[in-house]
């Protein structure tokens, strides 16, 4: 797939940028990231956050924006920067709140009960790494970007949607098996 390179300093039409995001143009996301970096990170830095936290919040906000735009559930009624800024605000507020709760030692029950959560996440992440690159991409495009089989076929150069569908099914089965085996092993060890 050919990507058009964005040049800093030139005005890029907001609508065009948003359309490209919706179509899955990662270069457009990189362009937005660079363009608003200072403005978005400033929000966190001026509200008792470090630069690392600021970058993390901004990146998380862009990931949320990307997923919503990709899934077709987002009708943008404001500027992209305004929308992303509001996500940053929410995320940082949530993080400050989490920190406050931790410092007050008021860990809520859900957190203390769900100790297995992070362990399970690690297992699944490990299994994902064991899949081939194509399998990983097929699954990520299908479940995160919510791409259609046609889009997946186009993006990954498959002959047709049937190939994409079969590939997705097999990759998912493979991942399920890997995770199940790991879970069993974990239970056995426990």
């Amino acid at each position: 797939m050919a990507f058009r390179v964005f040049k800093s300093g030139l005005q890029v039409d907001e609508k065009e940028l948003f359309d490209r995001i919706c179509k899955g143009d990662e270069k457009a996301l990189e362009f937005i990231y660079k363009k608003y970096y200072r403005m978005m990170t400033k929000l966190v830095i001026t509200n008792s956050g470090t630069e690392d936290e600021a970058r993390d919040v901004y990146q998380d906000a862009l990931v949320v924006f990307w997923q919503k735009a990709r899934s077709g559930n987002l009708v943008l009624t404001s500027k992209i920067s305004t929308y992303v800024y509001s996500i940053c605000q929410n995320l940082w507020r949530k993080e400050l709140d989490r920190k406050k709760r931790l410092s007050n030692e008021e860990k809520d029950s859900a957190e203390s009960l769900d100790l297995d959560g992070p362990e399970r996440e690690k297992i699944i992440a490990k299994c994902m790494e064991q899949l081939g690159e194509t399998c990983r991409k097929v699954l990520m495009y299908y479940y995160f970007d919510e791409m259609s089989m046609q889009e997946i076929a186009d993006k990954l150069g498959f002959a047709n949607t049937d190939t994409a569908k079969t590939k997705k099914y097999k990759c998912k089965q493979k991942l399920d098996e890997l995770v199940k085996a790991q879970y069993t092993e974990q239970d056995f060890l426990d």
Binding site: K7, S8, G9, Q11, E26, L29, E30, Y33, K34, K35, Y36, R38, M39, T41, K42, L43, T46, N47, R55, Q59, D60, L62, V63, Q67, K68, N73, T77, S78, K79, S81, T82, Y83, Y85, S86, I87, Q89, N90, W92, R93, K94, L96, D97, K100, R101, D108, R120, E121, I124, A125, C127, M128, R136, M140, Y143, F144, D145, E146, L175, D176, V179
Partner: protein, 291 residues
């Protein structure tokens, strides 16, 4: 449709309204289906986490410095020179081919015109090339600050903190109005090149700074190593400040004990810090620091 497909479509938001409702009803009456769903949900979440991490990793590799600004600036200057040269050439050609010697006054007027053409791009340069977060197009009255719109436009699926904590405990976020970054200065038309720097273009730098106070050879020096600023000497941490200009030409300054120093980002060898003597530039930097 098999249970596997149903669960898969449900978790990937591909079930229609009625199908979704029917599936949720079925879930309540079938514990094994519920258990399959829980397992699949963990896997799908894992796939999503992996993709989010991949995207974040991709963004982390994007350089966020302002180096491209000065490049654009040079390109514009070059374009302006070419236009001016073209105009001078065209006017000479025009007079020569007509075989007339233009009256001195008229020629002078024409020359002034070309000078004006030359100046124009430089005068508008700060707005045309600056990389302040919102583009100049966005400075129209239609601009609304995020804090206004955030009330009606937050992400639909966003977990609102209010749901989790009492309102009284909600941390306050001081919102920096991004539109303030669009503010223009009256000084942009000045002939002095440093006057093109707008207050809003000067910001506290995010460049990482390391201090080496034990070096015997370098006692008041600096150098840039992989984008990091290295200061040599007995710098008192509370007394120095690094400022960065993002609009127009990109530049980095050090403020230490009431004196300003220009830092050359391409200086990779330890170099002595020399105070800035340009009074116009000092007053601009001062103006910024005093807020």
């Amino acid at each position: 449709m098999s249970n596997f497909e149903l669960i898969d479509d449900y978790l990937s938001n591909r079930l229609g309204g009625t199908e979704k409702e029917a599936f949720e009803k079925q879930l309540n009456n079938d514990p094994s289906l519920k258990s399959d769903l829980d397992f699949q949900k963990q896997i799908v979440e894992g796939i999503r986490t992996a993709r989010a991490a991949e995207l974040k990793n991709m963004l982390s590799k994007v350089p966020v410095g302002g180096t491209s600004i000065s490049m654009d600036f040079s390109v514009m200057k070059m374009a302006a020179s070419l236009i001016a040269a073209g105009l001078v050439g065209a006017s000479i050609y025009f007079y020569v081919t007509r075989g007339e010697t233009p009256p001195f006054d008229k020629a002078a007027t024409d020359l002034n015109k070309t000078t004006e053409e030359l100046k124009k791009p430089e005068e508008i340069k700060p707005d045309a090339t600056t990389v302040v977060p919102d583009s100049s197009k966005e400075s129209t009255p239609a601009v609304t600050t995020p804090e206004k719109e955030s009330k009606k436009e937050p992400a639909k699926k966003q977990v609102k903190p209010q749901q989790e904590v009492k309102a009284a405990e909600k941390p306050k976020i001081e919102v920096a109005d991004p539109s303030s970054e669009l503010e223009s200065s009256d000084n942009t038309k000045s002939e002095n090149p440093t006057a093109n720097i707008r207050r809003s273009d000067i910001t506290p730098s995010q460049i990482q700074v390391d201090i080496d106070s034990s070096n015997k050879k370098y006692d008041f020096h600096y150098q840039f190593v992989n984008g990091k600023l290295m200061l040599f000497g007995t710098f008192d941490k509370s007394l120095y400040e690094v400022l960065e200009i993002t609009g127009g030409k990109h530049a980095v300054f050090l403020f230490y004990k009431n004196v300003y120093y220009l830092l050359d980002e391409n200086q990779h060898k330890a170099t002595k810090l020399e105070p800035i003597t340009d009074t116009a530039l000092i007053s601009k930097l001062k103006e910024y620091r005093q807020g």
